[in-house]
Every structure is written in structure tokens, then in C-alpha cells.
Symmetry: C2
Amino acid sequence: MSRKATIGDVAKRAKVSPTAVSRWLNGGLELPEATGARIRNAVAALDYQPHAQARRLSKGKAEAIGIVVPDISNAFFALLAGEAERIAVASGHDVVIWSSRNRIERELACFDRLRAGYIDGLLLITNHEDDGRLAERIRSMPGRVVIIDEDVVGSEAPSFFVENEFGGYEATRHLIEHGHRRIAHIGGPKGVMSAIERARGWRRALSEAGITPETQWHVFTEYEVEPATRDAVQLFALDPLPTAIFAGSDAVALGVMTQARRRGIAIPEDISLVGFDGMPINDLLGPPLTSIAQPIDDLGRRGAERLLAMINGEPFEVTRTRLPVELVTRASVAAPRKEKF
Amino acid sequence: MSRKATIGDVAKRAKVSPTAVSRWLNGGLELPEATGARIRNAVAALDYQPHAQARRLSKGKAEAIGIVVPDISNAFFALLAGEAERIAVASGHDVVIWSSRNRIERELACFDRLRAGYIDGLLLITNHEDDGRLAERIRSMPGRVVIIDEDVVGSEAPSFFVENEFGGYEATRHLIEHGHRRIAHIGGPKGVMSAIERARGWRRALSEAGITPETQWHVFTEYEVEPATRDAVQLFALDPLPTAIFAGSDAVALGVMTQARRRGIAIPEDISLVGFDGMPINDLLGPPLTSIAQPIDDLGRRGAERLLAMINGEPFEVTRTRLPVELVTRASVAAPRKEKF
DNA sequence: ACGCTTTACTAAAGCGATTTACAACGGGCT
DNA sequence: AGCCCGTTGTAAATCGCTTTAGTAAAGCGT
């Protein structure tokens, strides 16, 4: 196998200078048809492709963006990343995906990649509370970072969230309308914006209905199935049991379902359940899961578009966009059992 | 914000040559503690990081691998890619993920990236029949490609598959043992190895039980929920209905479930169902889905390990490894209803 | 005091593109 | 004839790092 053709080889074959080839290929030089044809033929004959690294070094651009997600094998993030990837690839950028596994060191490492020029910009999706280091890194790279889905307190970057408070409110309203009053909430970690806001919506709906939640009705967990399964135990230890549960994400709802199944508690007959995310699979769960649907595609798309625009020179501006959510009713909610007094 | 520090700045500050800095940092030069400390301090003071593109150009390595999946937002591929990513990152490589959306042009484009040096190696996961172009590209880049999960006919590369035939056989045996005899199969596309092998296992099990499948019992679809939902219609048009269905993947089984639900057909009471993949979510479906579990993590891990080893100079060798599968029984299989004659 | 080895580094040549600045040439105008 | 200008290019610098091939100085044995 012969060495890969370089621009010099093409130039030699087309009997012009490398400069001419480069400029002609990149559209910076008009040449008579005959010369153009010679270059075109040489490129074809040698199957020439500009060397990625050399080009990047010269241009000072990586033509790539990074996406940091807590875990790419989580369907929600896979969906989000998939959409962002689609947008980025369409505009000629490569996409490097990192699973941070919620380790802040891994997230910080991605910023090193950014500084080192591996990528031109970063789409950041976190899942946990920042200790200040992330925010500092984000501020240090203005115009290079877009935040999606979950806030990083004190950061300054364009960000795209959903209406978490309203979603929590709607979910809880829906349960109240079905006659529930003992409505527990198992949500994301303390200190995380989405968890705080969703819980706030839950409280507001309860309060409007004249219900005062007991402290133990609110359980904190992580937005993953395993931890949620573990922490859901606290819900099932309540006496009396809640008649309904608002889960802070669909993954958390999956944890609740797992735990309910283990204990022979039927959903929705014994306990009603509402999730948050609106994953496509919800339709097929047992039972199909009522959930607050997020516009996942929009989050990914708009985040990616904004990042690419900034990379291409759109002025840096700190915006915080809220995208709407929507209640999707399925079969995991029913009226509570009649209680005996 | 000042310009990023270069190796020259570090050298100046540490009062040595750039060569010394480079070699010392890369472990190619032993220096007295005092000099080392000066460099270390300079690096820290300037917050120096080697420029990614320059380093790559110099070394002739991208320190990155690519992963091509049909669709990253499909949970199976997300799981696979996630595991491969973990391995690659652990060895200091970046991971570029492409969703091919089963368009062969997009897959070919990834090979251009490989040739252009954007990445050092490619982990290829396809889902469809090749027209020969993929195989040719793979052959043209020996030692740079590893194939996972699905064969590319005529390619020459290390590959990791699962025991599809045995899986199909086991799934069908399981149904036969429950008393089923009218067992249909809806599987992946014609011409795709996994689909052919799984169907072969299905046929063998039937044949051993003295059952001759009718032609219409075998429906072809794609390994995605949407197409499977559409094509499952053919199964429900059969008269008499099959009492059991072996689906070629869990996504296909999801399609069957969707269609059954629409028609008010109960699983497993009216029809039993077995899937293939063993996705974690199967536990929580309605009903929990019996399935042939693939060692997804192993596929991703071993594929990535092999690719990295080849990049690091392990001799190129065409191997085809088969990983074992395992029947995981859940609630989607029951005995067939008694028939009236 | 001489040559040899070891220590502690460095100069300069790449890597393969892009880009800036400039040059040769022919033709039209005055 | 001399000048200008558009066309058709080219030479050389640059991006920031790695790496090959050395060199200067110190140490050491005899």
C-alpha cells in the first residue's frame, strides 16, 4: 500500500503549485477550466483527501464539537445526543461523545480537550450538583459552551432547559384530579435545578389543593434506575402508603415500578405513578407510563444549533431558554382505592 | 484572554529548549530534579496543554477511534457504544460516534474520515445488507477496522458476533416446550447474517419437533420498533393466528407488542412472545419480555480492546469470535390456549 | 594529560496543510 | 513606448509539536 497522497503529489501531477491546489479546492482561487480540470483529475487519480490533522492545525479549527452526557447508554441522553449529533454532522462537524458517569473529573477533562483544541465547542449535559469548578471552567471559555437540560449554577453560557416547575405542577394536578391526596414525590438529587423546580411544582399543586405534604413524602435519589430502585424503598416504607407517586424522571419511575413489582404492589390499582421525560418506551411498559414529555429532540437540536452558530462567530450572549413540556396520559394513573375509616 | 501558552513559552520560562520540554513531558528524557521542577512549574504557571492538532500532526496519530452505529438513540447500540467508549477513553483515546441511520453513504463517509486521519481506527456496527462497497473499504484498511454484532459479507477484519443460530434455536425450543406448535418468526432483513442465522435456529427447532413452518410464518422486517410495528401486521393477518412469535430482536418484539396492544390481543394469554437481545428494560415491559440475552457489554468491550490493540501494533489477523447467548425467561411466554376442534 | 563514557541538554528538520504577499505575462489605453 | 491592470499563478512563512542526530561539558580511569 503506497503512502497516502499529499497536496504536493496532487500539485506535481497537475503541474501547478500546492498553493494553487489548496486555494482552488477551498474556493479561494479562480482558475481557467483547463487548469481546474488537471487538478480535478489529479485529485481523482490519487484519491486525494486533505490530511485531517494538517488541515486542522493550519486552520486553527478542529471542525468537531464535544458532547458530555452523564451516561450515553441511558436512553434519554442517547436520544438527546443523537439529535445533537445529527445537527452537527449536517454542518460538517465531527462529534466526540463523552460519558462522564457523573464524575466531575471526567467533565473537567472535557474542558481540557476544549482548551487543547481537540474540539471547537462543548455541549454540556450534567446531572449532579457542581462544586464550583464546572462553573468556573464554563466562564473561562465564553462562546464555546452550551448547557442543556440541567443548570450549572454560576455558569455563564447559553442554556436550554424545560419548564420543570410547570411539569411538576401538571403531574401533580393530574393525580389530584384523579382523587389522590397522599401524593409522594421521588425526585433528583438535592441541589440540582431540575429536581428543585419539579419538586416546587409538586408542592405548589399540593398546596393549591389544600394538602400539606409530610416531610417523608419527599425522597431524593439520582436520575437512574438503579439508585431509584434502591431509594424507592423509603416510599414503600411509609405508613400509610401514598396512593400516588410523582417520579422526577422516567428512569426514576422505572425504579419505582421495579420496587413495586418486587413487593406485589400493583400500578395503578394500588399506587398511581407519573414520570417525567416522556420516553418513547413508556407506551410499552407494564403499565404504560403517564409522564411529562420533554421536547428531547428540540433540546438537542437547539443546543447544537446555538453552539455551532457561536463557533461560526455569532456573538456570545448568555441566554436561558425554557422549552415547554406536556402531560402525556397513559395507564399508570387511576383513582385511589376507597379507604376504610 | 491571552493567547494559549505554547511549548515555546514553557521552554522560555523554564530556561530550556522546546525539545527538552517535549521530551521530558513525553517521558523520553531523564532530567535532573531541578530542571524537571522548572519545567513542571512553568507548565503549571502557564497552564500549558499541548495543542491537540499539532501533536497529532507530529505524531501521525489521531488518538481517537470512531464508532459507527445505525442509530445511537437505539438503546442496544447506545449500550454497545457506551461500553466501547469506556474502554477507549480509559486508554486515552477520544471516541467519535456516528449514527449512520443505515445509509451506506454515511458509513462510507466514516471510512473517509479514517483515511484522512481523523481517527486511527473504526468500530463498525451495521444493520443492513452491504452492496459490496463496505466490504471493499474494510479490506482496503486492514488492521484499522473491527466489526461487531453484524457481519459485512466479504470483509476481512476481526469480528465479534453472538451465537445467533443457537439463540434462535433456544427461543423456539422454549416456545415448543410450552406446548406451542404454530410458532411464527418476525426477524431482521433478508441478507443480513444475524437474521439468517436466527431464522435458521428457529427452523431447526421446528423441524426437530416435526413442525413444518408455512411460508407466511416468516416475516421480514428491520431491527427497529417502527418498521416492526408496521410489518407485524402480516403476523396478525394470519389465519389461524400463530400461538407464539419469536421476534428477531427486542425492538422487533416491541413492535409486535405495540401491534398486539392495538388489536386487543393479550400477551402471553393469546400469543406468546420471545425477543432477542436481552435489554435491561425487558423486565419492566407489559408483560416482562422473555428474550435471548446477548452479552452486549462483552461485544463492545472486546471489540474496542481488539481495535486498540491493533492500533498499537498487534499484528492484523482476521478472526471471527462468537460470544454466547442465554435464554432469560420472563412473563411473555405461556402455554397456548386450548383449541376447539 | 589523554581519551572515553555519561550527563544534560539543543538545533533543525519534519508533519501537511493554509495563507499572505508577491510575480510574470499579455493586452488595452494614452 | 510606457503604464496600468487583470489573469494566473507561485514562494515562503506559519500553525505547534515531535524526533533525529548531535554537541558541550563533566566525570573517570590510567
